[in-house]
């Protein structure tokens, strides 16, 4: 400040206070650029304080307010967009100033807060955040200071996506869902055979994929016992009923043959 060439208007804590900072005498378009570099009223305020090398807690509110208002007026002239936010701060400064200028009423309560305290707190918090922003900015950044390795690899060629796993539970749940659905729409029915019958039906049809006829007796295996015989019998009846197979017998009491039903039957219909 000592080398300031402008006229000192007064002294604050032994320092000359100048009417306008030197950098105010710059062409308006350049000024606009400078003013736009302030990220907000707190930034401007902090700049005004720091420029005079003042301690945060020593804010000469009168001086600072005047300087601040000068800047804001210029911003208004230049129609900078942020003016509204700056006006709020100007009003706050004006309020502090007027409270400071009011004679202090005699009172026992010494605890009354300095009107500047709130402003000081805000400035301190803002300055702390400014430091934080600086620290973040200085951190080595991916894409600016460091780059991640992007090494070619053939590993992806070896990736195989396993087919979805299905559990027995998934299956039974799905079937229960279907059954519930069917019950809701009563006109659809699904037949009531046991799974063993249905499985035997598939088995019979499969056998008939490989041979034209199978003998009826072949479907009754002694080791399966009575239950097995019942299942086979039900399966055959069901297959006949669903017109998937047909039975033929050359003569009474002879073995019955099973074959796939054909649409154009060269046999006599049963």
């Amino acid at each position: 400040m000592a080398e300031q060439k402008s006229l000192a208007l007064g002294f604050v804590r032994g320092e000359p206070v100048v009417e306008k900072p030197e950098d105010l005498y710059i062409p308006p378009d350049a000024l606009e650029v400078i003013l736009e570099t302030f990220s907000g009223p707190m930034d401007l305020l902090l700049y005004l304080i720091r420029r005079q090398k003042l301690e945060m807690v020593d804010i000469p509110v009168l001086t600072i307010t005047r300087q601040y208002v000068e800047y804001v007026d210029m911003m208004k002239e230049l129609k900078l967009e942020l003016a509204a936010d700056y006006l709020v701060m100007a009003a706050m400064l004006a309020e502090i100033k007027s409270r400071l200028l009011l004679p202090k009423p005699p009172q026992e309560d010494d605890e009354e807060e300095d009107p500047r305290a709130e402003l000081v707190r805000r400035l301190q918090e803002y300055e702390a955040i400014r430091h934080g922003a600086e620290y973040i900015e200085q951190q080595p950044q991916v894409g600016r200071d460091t780059w991640l390795s992007e090494v070619a690899t053939d590993a992806r060629d070896y990736v195989t996506i396993p087919p979805p796993a299905v559990t027995l539970e998934d299956l039974t749940l799905a079937f229960s869902r279907v059954l519930k659905n069917v019950e809701l729409q009563a006109h659809h029915q699904i037949k009531r055979e046991q799974l063993s019958t249905r499985a035997r039906m598939s088995h019979v049809l499969e056998l008939l994929q490989h041979q034209t006829y199978i003998s009826f007796s072949r479907l009754f295996v002694r080791s399966e016992g009575r239950a097995g015989a019942v299942v086979s019998f039900l399966a055959i009846l069901e297959l006949v009923k669903e017109s998937m197979i047909e039975l033929s017998q050359m003569e009474p009491m002879s073995d019955i043959h099973i074959r796939l039903k054909r649409q154009h039957d060269e046999f006599d219909p049963a």
Binding site: A155, F175, L179, Q185, I190, K191, S202, S243, M244
Partner: protein
């Protein structure tokens, strides 16, 4: 003039970070001035780097468009684990179709559709066939001669079953008289 360690570090970093291969000429042009290092110095440094990485998990190879780092071929299979995805899940429609084929085989597509009330997409049937869980075991002698689906031995294997009877019996049709009703419907169908 850059010393050879600095030059090597710079080239190494560039080749690791750049997604495409870079030739010695490109490296020289993009990263260095004439006074930093000559093209010959760049080439020497690259050879040197190739040696440094001869025994490591990545190697510096020269391909058509330049140099690049790549993972060693022997490691490819193991590294696949990094990109291994969780198996997708099958849709409800697929599971219900499979369940119907399991519990009501042999069954036609039309019958599945009738029970589920919606059409069965060909994709579902295709998926189930590709997994070898179902197969066509014949046709039903009704108009259109639709194919009959049943489960395969592989289905049993995949679900750890010896036979279909081991599946839990789910039959929610309680009343016996419903059978009669069904029979009537069935006869109607047959008469179509």
């Amino acid at each position: 003039m850059m010393n050879s360690t600095q030059l090597k570090q710079l080239l190494e970093a560039a080749l690791f970070a750049h997604p495409q291969p870079l030739s010695a000429e490109q490296l020289q042009q993009l990263l260095l001035t004439e006074s930093d290092a000559s093209l010959a110095a760049v080439k020497a440094a690259l050879t040197n780097l190739q040696q440094d990485y001869s025994e490591r998990g990545v190697e510096l190879v020269k391909v058509a468009s330049g140099y690049r780092f790549q993972t060693r071929a022997e490691l490819g299979q193991r590294l696949a684990g990094l990109w291994q995805e969780k198996p997708p899940r099958y849709s409800q429609a697929l599971l219900e179709t499979l369940a119907l084929i399991v519990y009501r085989q042999p069954i036609t597509r039309g019958e599945i559709e009738q029970v589920r009330g919606v059409s069965v997409s060909s994709n579902i049937i295709k998926t189930l066939q590709e997994r070898n869980w179902i197969k066509v075991i014949g046709v039903k002698e009704v108009p259109g001669r639709p194919q009959l689906y049943a489960t395969t031995a592989e289905f049993l294997d995949d679900f750890n079953l010896n036979n279909l009877e081991q599946l839990p019996d789910i039959d929610s049709q309680p009343a016996a008289d419903r059978t009669a009703e069904t029979a009537t419907n069935e006869r109607d169908t047959l008469n179509d």
